[in-house]
């Protein structure tokens, strides 16, 4: 939908719009949650983070979202150090969905989605026509328009997750950072949500970093996979590179096999 | 709950009295009916007793029911209107009564600036930085006299009181000269001791008897302390303002060991309003005279 890009006028996705980590480290007391990590994350693609529990994937995504402070090293975004960004300009560039979405008692779907416009209009600015249109489009895109006037808490898990995604879409950022967006969903809804993310990347040219538990889902939807183990990046590559018996053994510490998806040809893993 | 109900009944009474008083305001009474009895609203019990002592009937007194319970004498006449708390009198009632004069204690309760909006106000010092309540009470009487045209009566009252105090002071020469510790029990562990800056201390000075307590006292001339401080004055005679401690306490080893108790130098005297003005001082002097057996 190129006309959207034109209409907003403010959205310019440049190649500079990327995360650069330089010896980024997080430790809590004596425990190191993330070993020094030097890496660059390019825009306009879906990057999956996988790893065992406590491997540091959540820590990494929270770092990118500025939800957690660094204890060592630097991260820059768009050529500027993360902590040099002011809150609202950053929120216009990067949207984040936490692992557990908060309780929203009393909020209507449309009201929640409209909150996504905050970084653009701020505390005092008028909620203008432009904002209104972005909200409508976001709801359209995520297919939540039909229950716009329902209370968020009355929706099912999958519907609710789509509403939150709609809020992120309305935020109209270059990047989506999603922390296990599918963890509470059944298979059908997982596919639904991840397809939506895929579509957003393709239609709007968004960059996405997504934490996923299921390596097969990661293989199916991501352009690139980062695998972490004990706070260390141990592998990076396309699904083809990562989903191999040897790599999976290293990542999850259990013997696994890989075969081809009969329809798409994606690699599919299974426990031996 | 005898006290609480008592309190509430008093209010009912007051309201009826108040209605009567209001009726009297709005009935066409000739302006010259009682020229020599001005309508005075009193916010401090010290001034209430002072008025009564010089034959002026206060129209209204703050916490009148409690006055009858605590100050007792001189008795408030029936029909005296209750003005509410001494610290926060009912301003609306005060306004409705339209008194000729409001008497308050300076530095206590509602500020005179607000009272003046309602009626002419005399805010007289009693317990103040000067720490001479007896002198302040005498001055206040004179001021009230000047304001109400009662100079004659007040002068007579003060002269009589003065000669009475002189007489008591003469009697006091028969006293053995032991300094006094005037105490009141707050519970069975702590006592208030009356010293410098208090009315009782001023009276003792006036009649020439020494007050043993030389410790610090607060703005109102007393200190709250344990019995061990009392024991610090072994030579003193104990004057206990009733009610004393519970009977069981009087049998306790600690009480019995007090030097004054061991040597039988303890007298009980009936209660007097502790923070009063001139009449309270006179009453205390008379009570003390009887209590010390120097009559």
């Amino acid at each position: 939908m190129p006309q959207i890009l034109e209409a907003t006028g403010t959205q310019t996705i440049s190649d500079a719009s990327l995360f650069t980590l330089e010896q980024a480290t997080v430790s809590a007391g004596a425990r190191i949650l993330l070993q020094p990590l030097t890496i660059a994350l390019p825009a306009r693609r879906i990057i999956g983070l996988i790893g065992h529990n406590g491997s540091g994937k959540s820590t990494l995504i929270k770092l990118l979202a500025r939800q957690q402070p660094l204890t060592g090293g630097t991260i820059s975004f768009d050529g500027k150090g993360l902590d040099e960004w002011r809150s609202r300009p950053f929120a216009r560039k990067v949207a984040y969905l936490p692992q557990q979405t908060p309780n929203t008692a009393g909020m209507l779907v449309s009201e929640l989605v409209a909150l996504g416009r905050y970084p653009w209009h701020g505390a005092l600015g008028r909620f203008g026509l432009q904002d209104n249109r972005m909200v409508e489009e976001a709801m359209e895109l995520t297919d939540v328009t039909s229950y716009r006037d329902r209370l968020v808490e009355t929706l099912s898990g999958g519907e609710r997750q789509r509403v939150w995604l709609a809020m992120l879409v309305a935020q109209n950022a270059d990047w989506l950072l999603l922390d296990e967006p599918t963890s509470a969903l059944d298979i059908a809804h997982q596919v639904e949500v991840l397809s939506l993310v895929r579509r957003l990347t393709e239609e709007r040219g968004l960059g996405v970093v997504v934490v996923l538990h299921d390596v097969n889902m990661a293989a199916r939807f991501c352009d690139e996979i980062l695998a972490l183990h004990s706070g260390m990046l141990i592998a990076r590559g396309t699904p083809e590179d990562i989903v191999t018996p040897n790599q999976l053994q290293a990542i999850y510490g259990t013997r696994m096999g890989v075969m081809r998806h009969p329809d798409t040809g994606h690699p599919v893993s299974y426990v031996r | 709950m005898p006290r609480l109900t008592h309190h509430i009944n008093d209010h009912r009474l007051t309201r009826r009295q108040f209605a009567a008083a209001l009726a009297s305001i709005f009935l066409p009474v000739p302006a010259t009916a009682e020229p020599e009895n001005p309508r005075i609203a009193v916010l401090d019990w010290g001034w209430a007793e002072s008025l009564l002592a010089v034959e002026l009937r206060p129209l209204a007194v703050a916490e009148a029911p409690l006055y009858r319970d605590r100050v007792v004498v001189p008795a408030l006449p029936e029909g005296t209107i209750d003005l509410g708390l001494r610290s926060w009198p009912n301003m609306e009632l005060l306004r409705a009564l339209k008194p000729d004069l409001i008497l308050s204690q300076a530095g206590y309760g509602v500020s005179p600036e607000r009272l003046i909006e309602i009626a002419p106000t005399l805010a007289l010092p009693l317990y103040s930085g000067a720490r001479q309540p007896l002198q302040a009470a005498e001055n206040a009487l004179k001021e009230i006299a000047a304001r109400t045209g009662r100079d004659e009566i007040v002068k007579r009252y003060l002269d009589n009181s003065s000669s009475r105090l002189d007489a008591i002071a003469r009697d006091a020469r028969n006293y053995d000269g032991r300094p006094l510790l005037i105490i009141k029990f707050t519970d069975d562990r702590l006592v208030d001791v009356y010293g410098a800056g208090g009315l009782f201390d001023d009276v003792l000075k006036r009649i020439g008897i020494a007050n043993a307590w030389d410790g610090p006292t607060n703005n109102w001339g007393f200190a709250t302390t344990g019995l061990e401080a009392v024991a610090r004055y072994p030579e003193a005679r104990l004057i206990i303002i009733e009610p004393g401690p519970p009977g069981s306490f009087l049998q306790s080893a600690l009480w019995q060991a007090l030097p004054a108790v061991r040597h039988g130098r303890v007298s009980m005297i009936p209660p007097t309003w502790v923070f009063g003005a001139f009449p309270s001082a006179m009453r205390f002097a008379e009570i003390l005279r009887r209590g010390l057996g120097i009559a």
């Binding site: 809150s87 300009p89 949207a95 905050y118 | 009632l93 080893a253 009480w255 061991r262």
Partner: protein, 659 residues
């Protein structure tokens, strides 16, 4: 000193040594060293000093040891049972409940025996703990809810005591002297009574040792291991309350000793329940002994200060320090989202309705002639409009502050009064009276404002490390308010004739209002209302949590601070007008939500109208209920607000258990 050097036995020994040194000074002051053994066993009846040491100081030492130990033991049990490191007899409302019951008893009977006092204390303490536990049960004893219930019970009981004192301070002085926790003894009766009750109750509680260790797991596990959590809770709560109430009845309110002792024990490494019970109890004894030793040695210099006052001050300060050690679960325990009504009535209709009611009540209050008759209406009006307008303004300010506070703390039961601002203002007023007397009404006003500002600064400093998270903010409020309560007890106990005046000032009587005050207050409300739209969007986003706020470009810490500053300013001003405790700040936004004002944008406005209505009505009730005596409007509102609060917690709990 490194923390590892501080083992429980060492700390205990250190504190005990300091206390013993102080008592040695006090005894040495009385009796020469050579006479001490004889004095202890067989004092010379002819020597007052020996008798005093034997019959006053020795029992005093015993009572301090026993009372401190009992309170700390009860505290450790409460903490284990309720899984809340800040539970103790005072934070659960037991001490204030017992005190109120004993105050009522003293007013209703001419003489009160110690036995009667004990029964009354017991009844009051049990009533308080039953209400607190009954309410907290609905939320499964969530730590924050429990503390809030305890705080409200304490506040309500405390304000009831203060209002009784306001009208009866002449009679109640003895009660308040006792209530402020003086350890002065004249014989061994209290020591014997405490010891005999502890000998029974403590072993009885120890019978529950094993079940208590199991209950520290969650309830499902406890049940799986064959335990009835409800039965256990009831039995243990009952016996521990007996233990605490006995101490209250005998020596008065000694707040925070249990908390201080158990926290110290835990910090020193007492990990298991056994260790905490043992060392907590010993530390409780040692700490109270130390506090009392300080009071005893200091008495000749600073006068008789009740030991309970010292522990309240030290305890409140300690609580401010402890807040940073409060486990994570408490900071974020209460993420109950505000219960917005789903009534179809729109916010605008609610607002209009409230305004109509407010104007109707104001009109009635301005013109009625029920208590005075035959007075020219214009005179009545001239006397009344300042207080009506002032009440309305104060109610509106508290309501706006309440709406903001509830959004910031994400707690529908939060009340701006609980921020400690009000307590700080009260303390400031009291301090101003003691410093400058009654010279000018401006002095207490200045005192109140500085008190509120200082309290707020303390809260900011304490809560900063926690990015102004809701839990710590509320806890600092509890600490400061406890301090204010202790100071009020002290004033009544002092016998100063100004007590009722000072009490009335701190209760914020609206009848004090002048036309200037009324106009200023109204202007402040208008300013507040004008500013509040600036916070509208923050109020929408903050309840969704820090992650969401951050990801939308809102700095949660800074925004919370700004909002708190706004709420605190309004609360501070309102406190000067209607006193520290009205619960209007809690009630008004809640009623507004229930009535259907759902949107954060319209909520402050509707709440303000409701708050104004509540306060105008309270002002009138306070004027008419006990004519010619005026009951401060804030107190009347608190009498309505306390029960309302309890009802809200009940229905909140039901929500929680349903979903």
């Amino acid at each position: 000193m490194s923390i590892r050097l501080m083992t429980p036995p060492r700390i205990c020994a250190l504190i005990a040594l300091m206390a013993i040194a102080l008592y040695a000074v006090a005894i040495g002051d009385r009796v020469p060293f050579s006479d001490v053994p004889r004095t202890l066993w067989q004092p010379n009846p002819a020597s007052f000093d020996q008798i005093y040491v034997h019959f006053s100081l020795l029992p005093r030492i015993l009572v301090a040891l026993l009372a401190g130990g009992a309170l700390a033991f009860a505290g450790a049990i409460f903490q284990q049972l309720l899984k809340n490191p800040l539970a103790e007899p005072s934070t659960l409302g037991i001490l204030s409940g017992a005190q109120l019951a004993i105050t009522l008893l003293s007013l209703s009977a001419v003489t009160v025996t110690v036995g009667q006092r004990e029964i009354a204390g017991l009844a009051g303490g049990l009533a308080a703990v039953t209400i607190v536990a009954g309410l907290a049960k609905k939320s499964n004893f969530a730590p924050m809810t429990l503390l809030l219930c305890g705080m409200v019970i304490s506040f309500s009981a405390g304000s009831a005591s203060v209002i009784l004192a306001l009208f009866h301070h002449e009679y109640l002085r003895g009660v308040f002297i006792w209530g402020s926790g003086s350890l002065i003894q004249n014989d061994y009766s209290n020591a014997i009574a405490l010891a005999s009750r502890m000998i029974v109750l403590i072993p009885l509680l120890l019978l529950f040792y094993r079940p208590l260790t199991i209950i520290s797991l969650d309830e499902a596990h406890a049940r799986g291991l064959g335990l009835s959590p409800a039965g256990l809770r009831a039995a243990v709560l009952f016996i521990s309350t007996l233990l605490s109430a006995t101490v209250v009845a005998r020596v008065g309110v000694i707040a925070f000793v249990g908390l201080a002792a158990t926290s110290l024990a835990r910090m020193a490494g007492a990990r298991t329940l056994r260790q905490r019970l043992l060392w907590g109890t010993l530390l409780g004894s040692a700490l109270l002994l130390l506090a009392d030793g300080l009071v005893l040695v200091g008495a000749p210099v600073i006068g008789e200060v009740p030991t309970g006052t010292v522990t309240a001050i030290a305890g409140a300060l300690l609580m401010l320090v402890l807040i940073k050690n409060v486990p994570h679960s408490i900071d974020h325990a209460n993420t109950d989202v505000l219960a917005y009504g789903t009534s179809p009535v729109g916010g605008r209709h609610v607002l209009a309705g409230c305004l109509v009611i407010a104007i109707a009540i104001a009109g009635f209050s301005l013109t009625e002639q029920l208590t005075v008759s035959g007075v020219d209406p214009s005179v009545l009006f001239a006397g009344r409009w300042p207080r009506v307008l002032t009440s309305a303004s104060a109610g509106a300010m508290l309501a706006i502050a309440g709406a903001v506070t509830q959004a910031v703390t994400r707690n529908p039961m939060a009340s701006p009064e609980g921020l400690g601002i009000s307590g700080g203002a009260g303390l400031g007023i009291i301090a101003a009276f003691f410093a400058g007397g009654m010279v000018s009404p401006l002095l207490p006003l200045a005192g109140g404002i500085s008190g509120a500002v200082i309290a707020f600064a303390i809260i900011l400093i304490v809560a900063r490390g926690k990015s102004y998270a809701p839990g710590p903010v509320l806890l600092s409020g509890i600490a400061i308010s406890a301090l204010a309560t202790a100071m009020i007890s002290l004033i009544v106990a002092s016998g100063d004739p100004r007590a009722s005046y000072i009490l009335a000032w701190t209760m914020g009587p609206t009848f004090r209002a002048t036309s200037i005050v009324a106009i200023i207050a109204t202007m402040l409300v208008l300013i507040g209302l004008a500013i509040s739209p600036l916070f509208r969007r923050s109020l929408e986003v903050l309840p969704l949590g820090d992650s969401t706020a951050l990801s939308l470009g809102i700095d949660p810490a800074r925004t919370r601070m700004m909002l708190l500053l706004f709420a605190a300013s309004l609360t501070g001003v309102a406190t000067m007008i209607v006193g520290p405790l009205s619960f209007v700040g809690m009630m008004a936004p809640h009623i507004a939500r229930v009535a259907g004002s759902r949107r954060p944008a319209s909520l402050p406005l509707t709440a303000a109208a409701i708050g104004a209505t509540l306060m105008i009505a309270s002002d009138w009730l306070g004027r008419a209920a006990d004519f010619p005596y005026e009951i401060p409007a804030g107190v009347i509102a608190a009498f309505i607000g306390g029960p309302y609060f309890l009802w809200v917690i009940r229905s909140q709990g039901r929500y929680a258990s349903r979903s």
